[in-house]
């Protein structure tokens, strides 16, 4: 259990700056998810917190103690790796008790803690097995067991689910959430999967290009994305963007058509991008109110249909639960509820 504070942390590899001016405060028991595309620096940040990477500038504090110069073992954190990093020649029980044995904990305590963790994770029957005799999901559980037997100040997860298949990932996601509720330990979780981020996080830290783009609860990021990057990254299928110029309370698209804007948005501001999520678009038969668009592709997903439309020369996606089948080539009208519109200025910042 711990609070954590990252103050203007940065990281350089040679002359290349991969993380710049990272500031973040993490409350006791909070579940933080670092999310972003590969190469955004999220794993590097996690490894800096763990002590596996040096911190070029700034400070990382755990419980108000500066961690910069401390080795990993002095930080009292546990980490779950993407590859699980289980010790291949040790049994499951030995894997889980390794850190306790290194600390010279007495045997009855070790046995008790291993039993506790294994019953929490459903590993009781597997304690004597070697990692190579386990399935991916079981290995994942052992990796988590190894982290929780220590009762560390904080848990760090480095894309722990990306080697599992989709079904198992869903299941493990729920288990991690449940485990966090039980243990209440401060956790930092790195993923590139925005669904994982949305479902697990108390707060999401969206990262891109070595910078934090936005910090907030999952719904804050979904409802009020701070910029174009967050808007496009959170949500699936991703948000639609329409570029144009704003004048007379309307967005003028490149093909000359206009979209009326709600009163709270600026009446004139020049170049801008309007965003709307595929699930918020209202679909109506061609010729009715709204903009006319052509159906390019129909993707049924079972619980809905994703339509790929061509609108103003670019792809525009609509998620509909209306099962009436639309053939590619058909024309439809799309209109946008005013409260579902997001407006971004020429720099991509939310207005």
């Amino acid at each position: 259990m711990a609070t954590m504070e990252i103050r203007s942390a940065s990281k350089n590899y040679g002359t290349i700056r991969v993380l710049d001016d990272i500031n973040l405060e993490i409350g006791d028991g909070e579940f933080i998810v670092l999310v972003g595309p590969s190469g955004c620096g999220k794993s590097t940040l996690l490894r800096m917190i763990a002590g596996l990477e040096e911190i070029t500038g700034g400070e990382i504090r755990i419980d108000d103690k500066v961690m910069n110069a401390l080795p990993p073992k002095a930080r009292d954190i546990a980490m779950v790796f993407q590859s699980y990093a289980l010790y291949p020649h040790m049994s499951v029980a030995d894997n889980m008790s390794y850190s306790l044995r290194l600390r010279k904990t007495d045997k009855p305590t070790i046995a008790e803690k291993v039993r506790d963790a294994s019953s929490k994770l459903g590993l009781d029957a597997l304690l004597e097995r070697k990692p190579k005799a386990l399935s991916g999901g079981q290995r994942q559980r052992v990796a988590m067991g190894r982290a929780i037997v220590r009762q560390p100040k904080a848990f760090l997860f480095d894309e722990p689910l990306s080697n599992l298949d989709a079904r198992l990932r869903e299941q493990m996601r729920a288990e991690i959430r449940k485990l966090h509720r039980e243990l209440g330990a401060t956790s930092i979780y790195v993923t590139h999967d925005q669904v994982e981020a949305m479902t697990l996080a108390d707060r999401i830290v969206a990262m891109h290009g070595g910078h934090i783009q936005q910090v907030g609860t999952p719904l804050e990021l979904y409802d009020r994305p701070a910029n174009l990057f967050v808007a496009g990254f959170i949500g699936s299928p991703g948000m639609n963007f329409l570029k144009g110029d704003i004048a007379d309370r309307c967005l003028h698209l490149c093909d000359g058509r206009t979209i009326a804007l709600p009163a709270e948005m600026p009446a004139t501001m020049g170049e801008a991008t309007l965003g709307i999520r595929p699930e918020h678009v209202v679909l109506s038969p061609a010729g009715e109110t709204g903009l006319e668009a052509t159906v390019e592709l129909v993707e049924p997903t079972g619980h809905g249909i994703i339509l790929h439309l061509t609108l103003a020369g670019s792809v525009f996606k609509v998620l509909t639960h209306d099962r009436r089948w639309l053939e590619p080539g058909a024309s439809v009208s799309v209109s946008f509820p005013t409260d579902a519109l997001h407006l971004f200025n020429a720099e991509g910042v939310r207005v």
Binding site: G51, F81, Y87, P88, H89, Y98, S99, R146
Partner: protein, 309 residues
């Protein structure tokens, strides 16, 4: 199935039956002939020498003598000493090769500038012909032309510059040192390859778990290397035990047979005394010992890897 059964009374002509029986053997013939000619015949001939009296200088020799050679071997003090020397020579050479090879591999596994060049240089001794390596080391130990005795004297380890190879009590260290120098690269190459296959995040996980570098070495590096070490030590032991070149070149088994190993004893018997029969008998004993040793190691290794499952 609708194939008509062949009536019991029907028999194909003899030639056809012969051809059918021979067919698979004909296909195998090239390889069988090759193996027989290249491997079996020399082996059987060599083994047969051990039971015959073959001396190049005695034109009346060549007769079958049964187990005479082996009986003589049992009473041959020189052979028994060679056997003890072989144990010492093989054990020490393999141990030092492994120890220094492992240290070298660990050093080369750490990134530093110029590592590529260092790796290439370290593997150089492997490329030196053993004959040359033996001569080179013999000269290095020679106080007249080599620096080593003078260095040892200067360090106070030796009273006056003298030839190690001429001192019966320490002569064996000469060939052992040369063999170590020559064999380190073999261990370094194989162990370095094994080291580089160890996933890095295991070390990271262990360091987060609180393991010091030494604990990481014993709980990750060593278990990972164990199978490779087992197999390389097995190979090397057989190899070094059979390896007479360095000893022949450097000491010729002397002084006073103190560096005579079984392998060099075979060479001496065969090519100095020209007693091929006796040399073959010694070789057969060495073969049997090494086979037994290999079996033990293989069984041991099998047990180890079974335990892992």
């Amino acid at each position: 199935m609708t194939a008509t059964p062949i009536p019991a009374t029907y028999r194909r002509p003899l030639r056809q039956r012969l051809a059918v029986t021979l067919e698979p053997w004909l296909y195998c013939a090239p390889v069988l002939i090759l193996i027989t000619a290249v491997m079996l015949v020399p082996l059987v001939l060599g083994i047969s020498y051990a039971f015959r009296d073959i001396q190049l200088l005695n034109p009346f020799s060549g007769g079958f003598v049964g187990l005479e050679h082996f009986k003589a071997l049992g009473q041959d003090d020189a052979f028994l000493r060679a056997l003890r020397n072989t144990l010492w020579w093989t054990g020490a050479s393999v141990f030092f090769q492994l120890a220094f090879g492992l240290i070298l591999a660990l050093l080369l596994n750490v990134p530093f500038t110029g590592r590529g060049l260092a790796q290439a240089l370290v593997f150089l001794p492997w490329a030196v012909p053993t004959f040359l390596a033996g001569l080179n080391w013999a000269w290095l130990f020679n106080p007249v032309i080599g620096p080593i005795p003078h260095w040892l004297t200067a360090l106070g380890l030796m009273d006056e510059p003298s030839n190690i190879l001429a001192d019966p009590s320490i002569a064996m260290w000469g060939p052992i040192l040369a063999a170590t120098w020559w064999g380190i690269p073999f261990f370094a190459i194989t162990l370095l390859a094994a080291l580089q296959s160890i996933p890095k995040d295991l070390y990271e996980a262990a360091s987060i778990d609180g393991a010091s570098p030494i604990q990481r070495f014993f709980s990750i590096t060593l278990p990972y290397l164990a199978p490779v070490i087992a197999i390389t030590v097995l190979l090397r032991t057989v190899w070094v035990a059979n390896f007479a070149d360095l000893i022949i070149v450097m000491t010729n088994g002397g002084p006073a047979d103190r560096t005579q190993t079984v392998a060099s004893y075979i060479f001496t018997q065969a090519f100095k005394r020209l007693d091929f029969g006796y040399a073959s008998a010694v070789a057969l004993v060495l073969l049997a010992l090494l086979l037994a040793y290999s079996m033990v190691i293989l069984v041991f290794r099998q047990k180890l890897s079974n335990r892992d499952k």
